[in-house]
Symmetry: C3
Subunit: 207 residues, 3 copies
Amino acid sequence: MTLFDALDLLGVTACAISGALSAMNRKFDLFGIFIIAFVTAIGGGTVRDVLIGQTPVSWMQSTLTIYLIGCVTTLSIIFRNKLYYLKKSLFLFDSIGLGVFTIIGVEAGIRTGLDPIFCISLGAITGCFGGVIRDILCNEIPVIFRKEIYAMVSILGGICFLVLNAFHVKANIIYIATVLLIISIRLLVVTYKVSLPLFTVKNNKES
Amino acid sequence: MTLFDALDLLGVTACAISGALSAMNRKFDLFGIFIIAFVTAIGGGTVRDVLIGQTPVSWMQSTLTIYLIGCVTTLSIIFRNKLYYLKKSLFLFDSIGLGVFTIIGVEAGIRTGLDPIFCISLGAITGCFGGVIRDILCNEIPVIFRKEIYAMVSILGGICFLVLNAFHVKANIIYIATVLLIISIRLLVVTYKVSLPLFTVKNNKES
Amino acid sequence: MTLFDALDLLGVTACAISGALSAMNRKFDLFGIFIIAFVTAIGGGTVRDVLIGQTPVSWMQSTLTIYLIGCVTTLSIIFRNKLYYLKKSLFLFDSIGLGVFTIIGVEAGIRTGLDPIFCISLGAITGCFGGVIRDILCNEIPVIFRKEIYAMVSILGGICFLVLNAFHVKANIIYIATVLLIISIRLLVVTYKVSLPLFTVKNNKES
């Protein structure tokens, strides 16, 4: 197993825990918890694969991911009242996940021969759409549209990846640099409570 | 037409009626009723086809399904105040539909050469996602995440299918056994009001 | 650039503005505004491409669309308090967009060799699903299910297209006729406040 695969599994783990917590907070039943954990972990990659036509989608290529999500979700349910103490580790895992998913998405775009702007888009889709689908299934406005600059961090990571790639930096170094950049920016954002500006319309009449 | 095709059409009919009823309960207009009926009947199969890359999706392969849904929905609108008396038949149709859709999904997975766990997943996706998309379009939390063990029944049916298939049982017998199993479990579940456990989190602070 | 491409860009422009306005009305942050504008403009085409398996989806084939949406959205944010005065132009743009998207969808169906009823469906999906996805992301019941006969107009346009096409009318004339028909019907609908009938159920007990 390469460094990259290990990071990927860490990301899947973080997303599955965050999904399971969301579902338990909304009083979903046992099956609902597993589905939301699963969708949060693989939703972004699924949307990416469907958009570029890489099917069967990637989580169907190996059983490792699905069993990992199953175990992580089971453990999350058992230790649901202790997870609060892991909050900082979870934030770290989650940032690693965002970084790794961004990289996987950008690489998929490069492999498909797409324009750089679409590679960056695919990185952000892979990184963020698991959470978007989770929020839609939970019948909420996706949180990334309202207060997180999650997606913006992923886009900056994607740009960093493409720039380093253009200079033919070695793959492993690009991976680490991108993930570190994403973790650092997220830490900065949370520490200094940075948020994107809001714009509201005065004449609030919809056409 | 084979026994299997007949069962399929019965399933589509049940889903279309259930979709039309949902839409009328939510005061959708004429077009909305048709769309929700249609999406409930073919949504699960569409998601399955898109995930495994079998496109154009299956409901575009033959016009029979779309005309059947159109007729069923028209009749549902005309007899909307009588449908209540059909409640028991509808429950039966719906269970047949769940069974048949599960079988179609599992078979699609086998044909694509996927691992058994993904075949079972595709069975459950085909059986349940029509209802999930219906609930999302109606802006509700999908009911299968909260009180129905619909999906669990579909998964048990999928396992039964794969086990019988591994013993080289004849296709028609597998179909009937799986559908009968699914109908029986659903009847048991409804009769004894079985439901999956809920797990709630004490420290209800979202990260 | 052909007349058709010019009309397409006008349609994309109208959808992006309508998406950006929706997002600003819901107090989404900067990123959310861009995403909603983008999804409204390209969502319908994306669903169509995924259903017929034409991937990578069409907005990834050329960078023109994505940059146009970026510019339009930026301008919409800057002039957000003036857009109200453009209401009539926006309605016109939006109708042109509906017409052009309908044509593109129907043509994609013909190219894929589908039955006419599916070509018409693809036209309506291309024309309407951008708005459906926008409403789902904004956590609302899609407006087309409740008070607009948007979709019905698109279906009539699709039928007009197919009839003219069957008589081997020249492509450019078909385009103009279809778009004009769609604009006229929408104007009539809005002027005379036509709406589709509602059907409600007396025994309002869900099974």
